[in-house]
Symmetry: C2
Subunit: 281 residues, 2 copies
């Protein structure tokens, strides 16, 4: 495995791989790798000749009051995991390498970035699409792997890739969960022991909601209200949002129809967790 | 020469050329081709295996009150010229092909797009960088050719390509001029006979300014004021802006130092013309 820190170096490796006819799979991450990332890397390895992993805690996708400073960074552990998962190139640029002095350019997806996480975190998705756009130009992958846990991010990046004609296939992979159902996230480690116990209510309430939809309850308001009271009863979680949205456009729906996503964001103390489930009605 | 209208078709041709190891040169235009475009195409042909020309009157770079509707469109004449200049692929997409239903993504360069033409034409450069970003992903050229006449556009696109890590070399080619010095532009044909005569003052005043700088006058205010009175005396031209700016960042300067660009935009009736000259002090 090559650990590469400069754009120029990885571009050389990519050019060589391309001209040898190798297919390139790419998993962009912020590091602090867990089993969710691992599942992306495994699928990437099965489906491509070359596996590229990027680790970059992207300052542009954090708000000024957010957890950029304390976001976990553990390159040595990540490197070990990456090696084990047969990553070929681990790209670990600095912020200066990605945003050198005089940097001025941003990629923005309208409308669908202004709701849900985009409403709670202004500028977040602009940071995400900008860095992913840059990484797509640097890595030039055939396939990009994203996790379903960050559902809105996956939808926004898919939209960007299609709109800007990036020659890449975006594959969105199932959320990997802890034994009690909590979606894997690098932010789970912020939780206290009691918050961690309470947090399992998120997925439980989403599964219940899915059962309710399957049983014929198609009113978004009723479904959302049930989830809300379930979470509120379970402990200290403070709800940021719970919505039923169109799975592609992230437009909030009043009536659940066709392929719908139920999405939520809940604060436990200073930690904000997100999760979602897809339902069909 | 292949005339291609769909993104999918040109991508197939590009992929084939790439895998045959051909280098690709790209000249993006809005059509109504003149000798300025011709000089870009010739250089592109000298320096690359494959010459791609795009003709697309991009609605997103025109303001609601601007000349999108009346901008000249003459595909047959353009096709003839393109053939003569040995273009290999002429890409002529429709607006629907470039911006299909549900389109939401924009590329924006900050700061340097808010001055000069960006101030007079809000949203203009956002439209330019968005379409050029898309075209770079579609055509995947090794070299992109732009004209110096649209100096701010060239600087903004260069900035975007660098910031977003597009693997392309941007080459900015000298302005081609009519016998009396007027910069070639598809918009020149909007001019009445008397406006056309008056318009030669633009380049004359810029050349005079360069002489003044060479002679030791380095005050931007004095240089600008001389150009202003020269143009005003010459006839009906109404000045939009005259500025001395840093050639890379387009920051307005008070004192001419190093490589500086003198840029101007002047209205003749409903026609807005731009021109510029580079000076060294």
């Amino acid at each position: 495995m090559r650990v590469v820190r400069s754009v120029r170096s990885i571009q050389q490796l990519i050019r060589k791989a391309k001209s040898a006819g190798k297919t390139i799979g790419f998993v962009p991450t912020m590091g602090a790798l867990h089993d969710g990332h691992r599942s992306l890397l495994r699928r990437c390895h099965r489906e491509n000749d070359l596996v590229v992993l990027s680790i970059f805690v992207n300052p542009k996708q954090f708000g000024p009051e957010e957890d950029f400073g304390k976001y976990p960074r553990r390159e040595q552990a990540d490197k070990k995991l990456a090696k084990k998962e047969k990553v070929d190139i681990m790209f670990v640029p600095t912020a200066e390498e990605m945003y050198p002095e005089g940097y001025l350019t941003y990629i923005e997806v309208e409308r669908m970035t202004h709701v849900l996480c985009g409403k709670s975190r202004p500028g977040h998705f602009r940071g995400v699409t900008t860095v992913v756009g840059k990484l797509l130009n640097i890595v030039m992958p055939d396939v990009l792997y994203l996790g379903q846990k960050d559902a809105q991010q996956a939808a926004v990046v898919t939209r960007m890739a299609r709109d800007l004609n990036f020659s890449v296939i975006v594959k969105i992979c199932p959320t990997v969960r802890e034994a009690d159902g909590l979606a894997m996230s690098s932010r789970n480690e912020y939780l206290t022991v009691s918050q961690r116990k309470e947090a399992k209510v998120l997925y439980r309430s989403l599964r219940e909601a899915r059962q309710n939809v399957t049983a014929g309850n198609h009113s978004a308001m009723a479904i959302i209200s049930k989830i809300r009271s379930r979470i509120t009863r379970a402990g200290s979680g403070r709800i940021d949002y719970i919505e039923c949205v169109d799975a592609d456009t992230f437009t909030p729906l009043k009536r659940i129809q066709g392929k719908t996503m139920i999405v939520l964001a809940v604060w436990f103390g200073k930690t904000r967790l997100i999760d979602n489930i897809i339902v069909h009605a």
